[in-house]
């Protein structure tokens, strides 16, 4: 699959669900180069999912600019595809049909569609289940189908909203490694949301910390580690400890600590 990443430019993006609801997040700034993997961590309720839905074109922003390769995002597109926390597969379709449904929507001819679907199914190691009923698959396998369903569109940006949080630890570790390596192999951008600090360290090129109500991006930590990353690696451990410290500081903001943290990390938006 030939794919490449996308240039992301999010400037002063704000959102509220309605004029009566509180501001979900306020003046979010994110910039990323093609092929970069961003992981956003933050406590639940700070607006991470909302942000991702906006980037996917599934929700309109209230204010601000959202440019992907200098084009304003207004609607969903095969160039930026979202994968959700639950697989949400269509139970009346086989694995193959589930994976190919996006191509079907796009009006692909049958033969090319079959080839590309088979390739996507291979990519997530589900060849043996191509014609299975998705209701017969385990949670991890279902999430792999959802991953293939997103990848088959050859997106330049894959948005992931806590995609592994419902899986057992073993499956989660395997998928974390696979998704990162597939993204690197294809050269696409990842923008992933999680509340799992380990996951952020294992998958990110840059970890963005989102905090507050309304939510804001308070820190941007580059994660320069070699692949494949192992949980037990001392460098991974120390990055994790650092990120954990930043995360806790962000939760109870004291001005002094915050300035100290800013000295070691880079504030978003100045890239």
């Amino acid at each position: 699959m030939a794919a490449r990443g996308v240039n992301i430019r999010i400037e002063n993006l704000s959102h509220r669900y309605s004029s009566k609801s509180p501001v979900t997040f306020d003046r979010v700034n994110i910039a990323a180069e093609p092929g970069e993997s961003l992981v956003i961590i933050g406590r639940s309720g700070c607006g991470k999912s909302t942000l991702l839905h906006i980037v996917a074109g599934l929700l309109p922003p209230t204010n601000g600019t959202l440019l992907l390769d200098n084009v304003q995002v207004r609607a969903p597109s095969s160039r930026w595809v979202m994968m959700f926390q639950a697989p949400h597969l269509f139970p009346w379709m086989t694995v193959t049909r589930n994976v190919g449904i996006g191509l079907h929507f796009a009006g692909w001819p049958k033969k090319e569609m079959q080839e590309r679907v088979a390739e996507a199914i291979r990519l997530v190691n589900l060849e043996d289940y191509a014609n299975s009923n998705v209701q017969d698959l385990s949670g991890g396998q279902q999430q792999r189908v959802a991953l293939a369903r997103s990848l088959v569109m050859e997106p330049e940006l894959l948005l992931l909203d806590e995609p592994f949080s419902a899986l057992d630890a073993f499956t989660r570790t395997a998928l974390q490694r696979d998704v990162r390596s597939i993204a690197k192999q294809l050269g696409i951008n990842l923008m992933m949301v999680t509340h799992d600090i380990d996951e952020a360290v294992l998958m990110a090129d840059r970890a963005l910390v989102m905090a507050g109500s309304p939510g804001r991006i308070v820190h941007d930590l580059p994660v320069d580690l070699d692949d494949p990353r192992e949980r037990e690696d001392p460098l991974v451990q120390s990055t994790r400890a650092h990120l954990m410290q930043i995360f806790q500081d962000a939760a109870k903001p004291s001005p002094i600590r915050r300035n100290a943290a800013e000295a070691t990390t880079r504030l978003v938006g100045i890239t």
Binding site: P76, H88, F90, F105, Q135
Partner: protein, 279 residues
């Protein structure tokens, strides 16, 4: 002793007993199916026997099974069965098609638009509770032919099960499916044909099955008046000519066809249902 071979033997044993059990349960069901119908036949025969031995009711003896089964070749040869079935089948088919064509969109509107659902709820509940046959005098005035009036009665009777079942199915649809399909570039047409309809096929077909039951019940009395064809007419005709065995034969035809139509629906429901453990 080779444990592998022993293990294989156990597995084969298990598979065998599994298939034997499946065959046994199929055999038991078949036996009960035949036995149930035989009991019905025996009760019918016994009732007819009681009628026959009582001098005051003897002239109704033709209601019994033997004269009835003797009537079938006659009714088939003179085309009574064929023409009654095709006339009734046409009315039923057209009426049901109208109900499906109108009922499914109404159901989808009810399921998808809150305004429409709230607006339509009480009028529809009210209309639904009007016995379909009570429309007959009005239908006869509005429609120029009895044929059309009967089709209208069938349609008005069967539209509600289809619409309400469609709406109920839609209410159970996971909203995430719409988000996922939008995310993957679905256009409204795709959402309808690839998501909504397959998701609620089970509910639509269940509604159609219920509609068929109501329509079949409405059809026969609706044909008692006005028309000179169809199953209802043929019963009425047999009564007027005092050919009681013809009457029971046509009643039997109604039962058998209704049973077959219902079983076909049940099969379709099984075929198009993706719910695990349903049906």
């Amino acid at each position: 002793m080779n444990t592998n071979a022993a293990h294989t033997a156990v597995v084969v044993d298990a598979a065998l007993s599994e298939s034997t059990r499946a065959m046994k349960s199929a055999g038991r069901r078949m036996f009960n199916w035949v036995a149930g119908l035989s009991i019905l036949l025996a009760l019918w025969w016994f009732g007819a026997y009681l009628i026959e031995i009582n001098p005051s009711t003897r002239h109704f003896a033709d209601f019994g099974p033997v004269p009835t089964f003797q009537a079938f070749p006659v009714l088939w040869a003179d085309g009574t069965i064929q023409s009654a079935v095709s006339a009734s089948g046409y009315r039923l088919g057209v009426g049901l098609l109208i109900a499906i064509a109108v009922g499914i969109p109404i159901g989808i509107l009810m399921g998808r638009s809150r305004t429409f659902r709230e607006l339509s709820n009480s009028p529809f509940q009210l209309l639904r509770m009007i016995s379909p046959l009570s429309w007959e005098p009005i239908a006869v005035i509005v429609f120029l032919s009895w044929n059309h009036a009967i089709i209208f009665l069938i349609a008005i009777a069967s539209i509600w099960p289809v619409a309400f079942s469609t709406a109920a199915g839609l209410a159970k649809v996971d909203p995430a499916w719409f988000k996922v399909s939008r995310n993957l570039g679905a256009k409204p047409w795709h959402t309808l044909t690839q998501i909504i309809l397959p998701a609620i096929a089970f509910d639509i077909l269940t509604g159609i099955r219920a509609a068929l039951g109501v329509a079949w019940i409405v059809l026969v009395p609706a044909e008692f008046l006005g028309v000179t064809s169809g199953l209802g007419y043929s019963i009425e005709d047999a009564r007027e000519t005092l050919s009681y065995n013809h009457l029971t034969a046509m009643v039997l035809v109604i039962g058998v066809i209704g049973y077959m139509l219902d079983s076909t629906c049940a099969l379709a429901i099984k075929r198009f249902s993706w719910h695990r453990g349903a049906v």
